[in-house]
Structures are given as structure tokens and as C-alpha cells.
């Protein structure tokens, strides 16, 4: 590096630029937060909660796919495990408060994630995707066979109960702010992880695994940890979803769900923080709005078309394309 004439000046300049960028980010985030807080007064709260749950699911998936470069084709297993566990506990043990049920569901999904990770982490590329798919199919088989899931009828009437034994979650607004708080917490956590030194290692693994190994990193350990965190967050999303809807079903465990979260992440912009959130919002909305309207018989082919269009024309997703546009024209 060249020795600048006045180093402190430049440092000061960089710092200033950083600050203004931080300020911009803070402003954007503040506006977003206000919108999210006000949203249930404009839109239907249950639907918003559905979006938040899927957004968290996609954020979890993206931590693995977008930032570490591992394509899991079995994330439905964690979503369903979280949901079924929480649903089972809250239905059968009335002494449990809601957050205890959710924590338990998340823990079981985390353990399952660890098992998946240990079995799959040494596989490369498409083989990794296929092992996770196979393991998720075995989990699906387990849920089909188990009595407690209610098979294809599903698990119904899960009580929303009371948060910490005090706040009544049957009230949609209370429930919404709880889900929102959990979502924001998880989002900030992922943001921290990605920008931490650990996150930098994950990115370097994604770019060039061999180099990361030669730099002396225990790549497997890093990947396993990323997988487990991702599974935990996916499980948390499933747990919350089962409380919001008061039901859990086999749809969440089916491999189509694993495909859907890929679509969400891709459409929103993989490897960006906001991408999966935007993608989940977009896909859930498209599916829902289409299923209500005159095109309701055509949801599947339209979703297929979105897949095709995204891969061909917008490979960096909505957020990625916007970022590119901003950089090109405004930066």
C-alpha cells in the first residue's frame, strides 16, 4: 500500500463516509421498523405473521446457501420438526407457557440439524443437496408413520396460550408483535453473524474452500456450525408458525417446501441480508393472491414461470438487482 501524505485525513474521510452510510442504513431500517409496527392496522395480522415466519425460514436457509454456499434440499425437515414438537408439547402439557414450547421445538430442530450436518457436511455440491434431501425424506416418512402428527389430517387446535404466562396470545395483535420481535431478533443475529469474523470465514469458504483449508481453518467445523444455526432458525420459524396457525401439517415436511424456500431466497436475492425477507414476502403474496383471484387454477405454472424468469433474467434476485441498479446509477 502506498504511504498516504496525511493518513489521519483519509481515515477520517473513510470514517465519515462509513458514518453517513450507517446513518442511511439506520434510517432505512427505522422506516422499515415503523412500517412493520404499523402493518397489522392496515393488513391482516395472521397473513403478516405467515410472511414473517416464512421470511425467518428463508433467512435461515440463506445463511447456509447464500453465505456459506451449501445448498440444502432438506430444510423442510427442520420447519416441520419445530412445528410438530411445539404443537405436540403445547397441546399435551397445559402447564407449558408458549415460549417454552417454542424453545423446545427449536431445540429439537437444532439437534436434528446437528445430526444432518454430521452426516452430510463432507459431501460436495450436488451430493450435499441430495444427502440432505434423502435425510429429509426419511424425516417425512417418520412423520407420516407417527401417530402424534395426525398423519394427513394434520395436528389441529394447538393452543396459542400465554406468553410468559401473562400475555394472551389469542389476541392477534399480541401474537403479531411477539412474532415480529422474535423475527427482528433473529434477523439482527444473522446480521451479526455475517459481519463477524466467523461470517467472513464462511464467505471465504463459499468463494474458495480449498484456500480456506490451506489458510488453516477447520472448514468442517465452520460449516457444521452454520448448518446447525440455520436449522435452529428454521425450526424456530416452524414452531412459531404452528402457534400462529394453531396447526401443523405434512405440507411443511414435504420436499416441495424445501424447493419453495429455495425459490424465496433466489427471487429475493441470495447472499444478501434483506433478500430472503423480500423473497418470502413476494412468494407468499403471489401464491396467496393468485389462489384467490381469477388465475387461481394457474398458481403452479405461474410459480414455475417465476422460477424460470429469475434464473434467466434476475439471477441476483430483487434485492441484488436493486443494489446493482443503485450502484450503477446513484453510486
Amino acid at each position: 500500500m502506498n504511504q498516504p501524505v496525511n493518513q489521519t485525513d483519509i481515515q477520517h474521510g473513510i470514517l465519515e463516509q462509513q458514518r453517513s452510510e450507517d446513518r442511511k442504513k439506520l434510517m432505512v431500517n427505522g422506516v422499515l421498523l415503523l412500517l412493520l409496527l404499523a402493518a397489522p392496522f392496515v393488513m391482516y395480522p395472521v397473513f403478516l405473521m405467515k410472511i414473517l415466519c416464512f421470511a425467518l425460514f428463508a433467512v435461515a436457509f440463506n445463511l447456509l446457501f447464500g453465505f456459506t454456499g451449501l445448498l440444502s434440499f432438506g430444510h423442510a425437515a427442520f420447519l416441520a420438526t419445530g412445528g410438530y414438537t411445539t404443537g405436540y408439547l403445547l397441546t399435551n402439557y397445559s402447564g407449558l407457557t408458549t415460549e417454552m414450547g417454542i424453545i423446545a421445538g427449536t431445540l429439537v430442530a437444532t439437534l436434528l440439524g446437528l445430526a444432518f450436518a454430521l452426516l452430510s457436511i463432507r459431501r460436495q455440491g450436488i451430493y450435499f443437496a441430495m444427502v440432505t434431501l434423502a435425510l429429509a425424506q426419511l424425516v417425512f416418512f417418520f412423520f407420516v408413520q407417527s401417530k402424534f402428527t395426525g398423519g394427513e389430517d394434520g395436528m389441529h387446535g394447538i393452543p396459542r396460550g400465554e406468553l410468559l404466562g401473562v400475555i394472551n396470545l389469542d389476541d392477534n395483535l399480541n401474537m403479531y408483535y411477539f412474532v415480529l420481535a422474535v423475527f427482528i431478533g433473529c434477523y439482527l443475529l444473522v446480521q451479526r453473524i455475517v459481519s463477524s469474523p466467523y461470517g467472513q470465514v464462511l464467505k471465504s469458504i463459499k468463494q474458495n474452500e480449498a484456500r480456506a483449508v490451506s489458510l488453516g481453518y477447520n472448514v468442517d467445523r465452520y460449516k457444521i456450525l452454520a448448518f446447525v444455526i440455520s436449522a435452529a432458525l428454521a425450526g424456530l420459524a416452524g414452531s412459531m408458525k404452528s402457534v400462529v396457525f394453531q396447526l401443523a401439517s405434512l405440507n411443511d415436511a414435504h420436499w416441495h417446501m424445501s424447493g419453495e424456500v429455495i425459490l424465496m431466497t433466489l427471487v429475493g436475492g441470495m447472499g444478501t441480508l434483506l433478500g430472503p425477507v423480500v423473497g418470502a414476502t413476494f412468494v407468499v403474496n403471489v401464491e396467496y393472491q393468485l389462489s384467490q383471484g381469477p388465475l387461481r387454477d394457474w398458481v403452479d405454472p405461474i410459480l414455475g414461470g417465476i422460477f424460470v424468469l429469475t434464473v434467466l433474467a434476475f439471477r441476483s434476485g430483487i434485492v441484488g438487482e436493486v443494489q446493482k441498479f443503485v450502484k450503477k446509477n446513484l453510486g
Binding site: 408413520q145 395426525g150 398423519g151 408458525k241 396457525f245 396467496y288 389462489s291 384467490q292 387461481r296 398458481v299
Partner: protein, 404 residues
């Protein structure tokens, strides 16, 4: 007489209106939601043609109840209870929907009826098979209209055992509804003096049935019963024909078979198949007249589910008109008190558990020689009286049944 009745009811209704009860029909609109699988596995059972059937009923009724207009909203449930519950919640909480009809997948139906119960709206379930809908999952807010697994697994086995088919082998879809039907069939067969030689639980869906058919063949049973549905059933029947099961003297009994399935199989593969149905288009002039109109609209003959959607919508509108109210309990009470007599059911009754009981029919699929056309598929062999066809209330686990 009917004229008189109509006059009277409208007189009563207008008297009520004057009496300040305008709110009896909420928003002056009877709003009906049609929820069904429009694009997946169960599409042909109810699907887009079911919506047509519902619209036909509304049009035949005149499009209005008194001065209130009738509106329909519809959605694809994607066979997902999530999608179903977001849709139905919005319908009843924000859009003033009074009644939801259709519904096929059991997970969708159970999720929907729970929401209807919370919001005190009405559900008329026509597509679902699971008998648990009026048993463990019964609510005071829905009626199960057309058929259920209990009714389907009674008719066919009773008749076949009586004809001499004593030993049975069951191919069961490894799912809750398959297990329930296997248990029902076992009970019926044994009660009539037959025996169960064995059963196989196969995954859902199974693309190739040859292995299971071979095992059923090797069992030497008189009858092979199919406790599955849809593509599994049609695949099993095709494979049975291919492996010469019927030529070798074994009988195939389909438990959940719809007209659309038999139409897909054709009489060549399905001939001689015995099945139970809640309705058939070619039973009498009334059914034929309606089916001809349905076919003009859709290009296909109606299944029992389509007919049930038409009938239940019509009965609902009649009840709203008669009571002058779209309140779910008022309407349900009226429907329970007034027997249903139309092209779908004769003397059908709605019980306290929400089960609509009516005669069911044992049918036999015609041979290619007997069949005069693409849709000339069934011979109705026997009428199963309503009292025998459905689960008696004495066996019910439903919370609404007195004594439970």
C-alpha cells in the same frame, strides 16, 4: 301449496324486516366462499367444476334471497391447511363470508371448520371423505354432506360377503384415512361372517402396484379390497386387470371410487368393479336433467361431490330464505329440522353431529358391451338405506351428541 309457502315465508320475512331486524341477513348480502383443490390431486373431484355447480345452484335459486343478493368468492386451497386457514380467516373476519362450501383434503377441512367454529359461521363440506369430520372433529358449525369413509366401507363389503365373498385381503394406503377404512372393513366383514386373511399398508402415492397385487393374489383371498383413493386406486385396478386377478376368480372391491376414476379407467379395465356411491347421474329423470345441464356447462358428467355441492348450496339458500337469517346456528337448526328432498337426496336428514344421512348406493361397473357411452358406467345394484349407511349416533364420539 309451495306458492302459498313462499308467500308466507316472504310475508314473515318482510314482517321481520319491518320489525327492525334488517341485520338478520348481514350486510344485506349472503356471501358464500368456495374453497377446494383447484389444481392438485383432488382437482377432478370438486375443483373448478364444483364452483360451476355452486354457481348453478345460485342461478337456479334466482341469484337473490329476498332483497339480499348472493355473492360467491372462491379460492384454491392448494391442499394446504395454512393457505386454507389464511383464506378462510380473511373471508369470515374481514369479508363477511357467511358460508364456506367445497373442501376436500381432510387437513384443510379440519382447519377450516375450526375457524368457522371460532367465528360462528357455517361450513358445508362436500368433498372430504374422513368420517372423523363428524366424529372426533365435529363442530356445531359444519355439515358433512355427501359421503364419508364409514359409509363407503360399509356398503360394498356387506354386499360382497353376502354374495359369498368370504375371505378378504386389504390393500391400505398407509395414511390415517386408509387405516380408518381398513378397521371399518374388517369390522363389517367379520360381522357378516367373513374373514380377513391379511392386509398390506402401502406408501401414498405408490406408482407401481404389481408387487402388492402379487401378494394379494398369493393370499388366495376371494376379495381384494382397495382402502386407498385416486391414482393409487386406478393404478391398483389397472394392475389387477393386467395380472389376471379377476379372470382367476378373485373380486376387486374399490372403497373410495369416484365417477371420474372409473371414467379414467374405462369399462375395459374396471368392469365388474363393485363400489359404493352417494349419487349417480343416471338414476332418474331428475338426476339426468340436472346432469345434462351440468355437462353443458363443464363438458363432463358430475361426480357425487359436484351434485352434493349443488344440493347443499340450494338447501342453504332455502334455509336462509325461510328463516330470513344468515346466522349459522339459525340456518343449521332449520336444515336439521327440514328433510332434504331434491335430485341429490330423498328424505336426507342432518343429524346433531352434522352428518347428513341419506341413502347410499351399491354400484357395479358395466362391461364394455353393456355400456352405451363414455359416461354410461354404473349399474345401481342396491340401495343402502340411510340408517344402515352411516355411523349410528350411539357409536359417535362427537361432543355434540347428547350423552357424550
Amino acid at each position: 301449496m309451495t306458492m302459498m309457502k313462499k308467500l308466507l315465508t316472504s310475508a314473515v320475512a318482510s314482517a321481520l324486516m319491518v320489525g327492525g331486524a334488517q341485520a338478520e341477513i348481514s350486510d344485506k348480502t349472503v356471501k358464500i366462499g368456495y374453497l377446494a383443490d383447484m389444481s392438485g390431486t383432488y382437482r377432478d373431484l370438486a375443483g373448478p367444476n364444483g364452483l360451476k355447480a355452486m354457481e348453478m345452484a345460485i342461478a337456479d335459486f334466482g341469484g337473490k334471497v329476498g332483497s339480499a343478493k348472493v355473492e360467491v368468492v372462491s379460492a384454491d386451497d392448494r391442499n394446504s391447511p395454512d393457505v386454507a386457514s389464511s383464506t378462510v380467516r380473511r373471508w369470515v373476519e374481514n369479508e363477511g363470508v357467511d358460508m364456506v362450501g367445497g373442501m376436500v383434503a381432510s387437513s384443510v377441512t379440519i382447519a377450516t371448520t375450526k375457524i368457522l367454529e371460532e367465528n360462528n359461521k357455517l361450513g358445508l363440506v362436500s368433498g372430504s371423505a374422513a368420517s372423523s369430520i363428524t366424529d372426533a372433529h365435529c363442530t356445531p358449525n359444519h355439515i358433512h354432506y355427501v359421503y364419508d369413509t364409514y359409509a363407503l366401507s360399509i356398503g360394498t363389503p356387506t354386499a360382497i360377503v353376502k354374495e359369498g365373498g368370504k375371505s378378504w385381503y386389504i390393500l391400505t394406503a398407509d395414511y390415517a384415512f386408509g387405516h380408518a377404512m381398513e378397521a371399518d372393513v374388517t369390522r363389517v366383514v367379520e360381522a357378516n361372517g367373513g374373514e380377513i386373511l391379511g392386509s398390506i399398508r402401502h406408501p401414498f402415492p405408490t406408482p407401481d402396484f404389481s408387487s402388492f397385487i402379487l401378494q394379494a393374489q398369493a393370499s388366495g383371498a376371494d376379495v381384494i379390497a382397495l382402502a386407498n383413493a385416486g391414482a393409487d386406486t386406478t393404478n391398483a385396478i389397472t394392475t389387477a386387470a393386467e395380472f389376471g386377478v379377476t379372470q382367476a376368480g378373485q373380486t376387486i372391491a374399490g372403497l373410495v371410487v369416484f365417477l371420474s376414476d372409473v371414467h379414467a379407467l374405462g369399462t375395459e379395465a374396471a368392469q365388474g368393479l363393485q363400489l359404493t356411491t352417494g349419487w349417480y347421474w343416471d338414476m332418474n329423470d331428475e338426476t339426468r336433467e340436472w346432469s345434462d345441464r351440468f355437462m353443458e356447462e363443464t363438458g363432463a358428467r358430475p361426480t357425487m361431490v359436484h351434485a352434493g355441492i349443488y344440493s347443499s348450496t340450494m338447501q342453504y339458500l332455502k334455509a336462509v330464505e325461510a328463516t330470513g337469517s344468515d346466522d349459522s346456528q339459525t340456518v343449521r337448526k332449520y336444515m336439521m329440522e327440514h328433510p332434504i328432498n331434491d335430485m341429490f337426496a330423498k328424505n336426507g336428514r342432518v343429524r346433531e353431529d352434522g352428518r347428513m344421512v341419506h341413502d347410499m348406493y351399491l354400484a357395479k361397473v358395466k362391461t364394455p358391451e353393456e355400456s352405451t357411452g363414455e359416461w354410461d358406467l354404473y349399474d345401481i345394484v342396491r340401495t343402502i338405506p340411510a340408517d344402515e349407511a352411516f355411523r349410528p349416533l350411539s357409536e359417535s364420539k362427537c361432543k355434540l351428541v347428547s350423552g357424550n
